[in-house]
Symmetry: C2
Subunit: 424 residues, 2 copies
């Protein structure tokens, strides 16, 4: 076992390089469909470390039949590059490990609402700014440089380690699923999502859907003859808001989520409708995200949403004759909780305790992460633990660099506790 | 004076050619920005008739200083082609005339909601289908072939006639305004908008504006930290709907519009907002159309709208710190009514009576036409009179061909009554 001083020294020795690496990584505008160049650069960086790299695209992987698969629309999976680096131990001495992080980022929104360049990676007062700087390129840098720290100290992991950088975490999770479809397995999966140095034990389920609403357009001078698709869409939003309030009542009996205030969030996130100010809009499309009530099978939850939408439509004179379509075009994600008591969690907690002198706190996430795939469908215990930052999915997202260093230290220590070490 | 039989005979002689001409005209997809080829074809068709053609674009004409001008955004006036044909009488015997029609059309909307090709010009059971077939390429064909009928009968108008085909009628009216800025004047302006063979005596004012609403995005998992621009926009819609109800109360004391049920229409016509289902939307833009309360100066009405929007924003915890923008980006149109009793109207009524044996009925339009420019700002009496059809701005727009023939007959007869005739 490396001592605390040895670990700190090794991490400090690589720190400037790590910050530079994170800054470069943040510079890639790896929004959906544009992750390729980012993954190419990462694959190169992994090869330079001597790791064996498997780089592939999602269209190469059959996975629509697997649990947790989410349907997609308007996305070219020929461009969805995934990277898995294998660091194999000839004679394993500990337990194997998947280190996983996603490199896809959500859109930046109007750039003029940022005070920093969205992909600039500027550092101000110990904060590194940029879309994805926190969620979760910071964590990716931590898992890579944790391994670098061990190497600097003269060691490799004592068991097989798979370092995975995936995409689609922000929309479907199909990147993570593809690594499992491709056959990668281990005794645990550690995901350095930005949990604020908490144990990310679990997460709620999430569903995406598109409401496609039609209208009967008319000249606005005779608008009583038409139906306005934009206004009809708002009626459906109101019904879904009421549904969300009901779900937050029902969740109060859940063993894990009862402790959170309103864990079920509904978000009308993107809207497009109509063509002309003076025509009654004939169409409106709304992309929505809603949390899944924990414990509800996805099929049953989809039916609940359909019932809410169709009941609202039936009660509306405009929508009844032209019912909306509900299109499932992204996340169809179950919730997942790692039950307490695993050896895996104990090892992470020990590493956190060693680094901070404090007991790690739990964190339940009202969003989604990739950990569900490993933990729920493949029986590979999985949790999230990573840096602190702010404004993920917002403007001026940033990560606190001190917390990135802390995370790197915890991961390095955890690896030696979980996988053991072998001298180079 | 040509007799009824002579007029009917001359119109019938050209009828097949007129229908073909209207079908060709309907085939041009002359939506905003794409009117050029349509106007080029019309200019050629006018030149073939021996008329003197003035073809120009709106960017050639200074008119921002003129009453009735509407500001524009995102539109290239280098492409906004206007056509004015002059048929000058060497020794005028009657009164001069402007015949005016617009060739711009509104968007077709989702093509799959049409049962006919939107620009196909199909004829079924005496109806010619297509975007613009009714509004108002049918009327354009009527004014052109009314002149052709006189020529077939051996006559030209006895006074100067200006045949104008303009654009921007559906968005600003700046096409009509440009002809006045360029100096064209006459003793009356006749616009064959599809009034269903009624005397289109007047019209309400119309205003376009864009609401630009910002939000503070957050990860939807923490959406209580953000503000949703799509939902905020809906709050503004509700305030404008209430404002519209109030206006319809206030209009009940108006001498002309008190007779109509709810003549003030508000239409949220086009919406765009947000980038990602799982991010709180940071922006939303809504293009709106509202009728102007008759008698209210445009400046005062704009202030009323601003007050409604800003009051709603101030009362909302999300909008108060980030007030929306209101952008005036289209119609800033006064209402206009041609008071009864003019010699012009009498001549139109006489032509209608001669063709139908009935007294023409009045029609007040709750939308807008170009007649306001001539009648309100340049003291040129103007009215609308034209064919019958359905679903202007909707799907499967059509015009009834019988009514086009009727309109052609009425215009031809009106010309000889107003302008006199001269033998070729």
């Amino acid at each position: 076992m490396l001592t605390a001083a040895q670990l700190d020294h090794a991490i400090a020795a690589n720190w400037d390089r790590q910050v530079e690496w994170l800054k470069t990584l943040t510079g890639f505008p790896s929004q959906r469909g544009l992750e390729g160049p980012c993954q190419d650069w990462i694959a190169g960086s992994f090869r330079e470390r001597g790791w064996s790299v498997d780089r592939y695209v999602l269209s190469d992987v059959a996975m629509a039949h697997l649990p947790g698969y989410s349907p997609v629309a308007d996305t070219d999976y020929d461009k969805a590059v995934q990277v898995v680096a294998s660091i194999r131990a000839p004679q394993p001495v500990g337990r194997s490990l998947i280190l996983q992080g996603h490199v896809d980022v959500v859109p930046v929104g109007p750039s003029d609402m940022w005070s920093q360049q969205p992909y600039g990676g500027e550092i101000v007062d110990g904060k590194l700014f940029g879309r994805g700087a926190c969620d979760m390129k910071s964590g990716v840098s931590a898992m890579v440089f944790a391994l670098d720290a061990l190497r600097t100290a003269g060691y490799l992991p004592g068991s097989d380690v798979y370092v995975q950088t995936v995409t689609e975490e922000e929309s479907t999770g199909n990147g993570a699923l593809s690594t499992l479809a491709r056959g990668y397995r281990a005794d645990a999966c550690f995901i350095p999502e930005p949990t604020g140095l908490h144990i990310g034990r679990g997460q709620i389920g999430v569903m995406w859907f598109r409401l496609s609403v039609k209208g009967m357009p008319a000249h606005v001078a005779e608008s009583e003859q038409g139906t306005n698709a934009i206004l009809s869409t708002y009626r459906l939003i109101e019904a879904l808001q009421q549904f969300t309030r009901d779900l937050n009542e029902r969740v109060k009996s859940h063993p894990w989520y009862s402790g959170l205030a309103s864990p079920i969030k509904f978000n009308p996130g993107k809207i497009r409708g109509g063509d002309w100010a003076s025509s009654t809009p004939a169409w409106c499309e709304l992309d929505c995200r809603i949390a899944v009530l924990p414990g509800t099978p996805l099929d049953a939850f989809r039916q609940e949403i359909l019932d809410v939408v169709m009941t609202a439509a039936a009660a509306d004179p405009f929508l009844a004759p032209n019912p909306p379509e509900v299109i499932w075009n992204g996340f169809q994600a179950d919730d997942y909780v790692l039950e307490p008591g695993s050896a895996f969690e104990a090892a992470v907690r020990a590493a956190h305790q060693a680094a901070t002198g404090e007991e790690a706190k739990d964190w339940l996430f009202t969003g989604v992460t990739d950990s569900r795939f490993y933990g729920r469908y493949y029986d590979i215990p999985s949790l999230c633990y990573g840096p602190s930052g702010q404004r993920m999915h917002g403007f001026d997202e940033y990560v606190e660099l001190d917390s990135v260093k802390q995370t790197t230290r915890v991961i390095a220590d955890f690896i030696q506790r979980w996988c053991g070490l072998r001298a180079i």
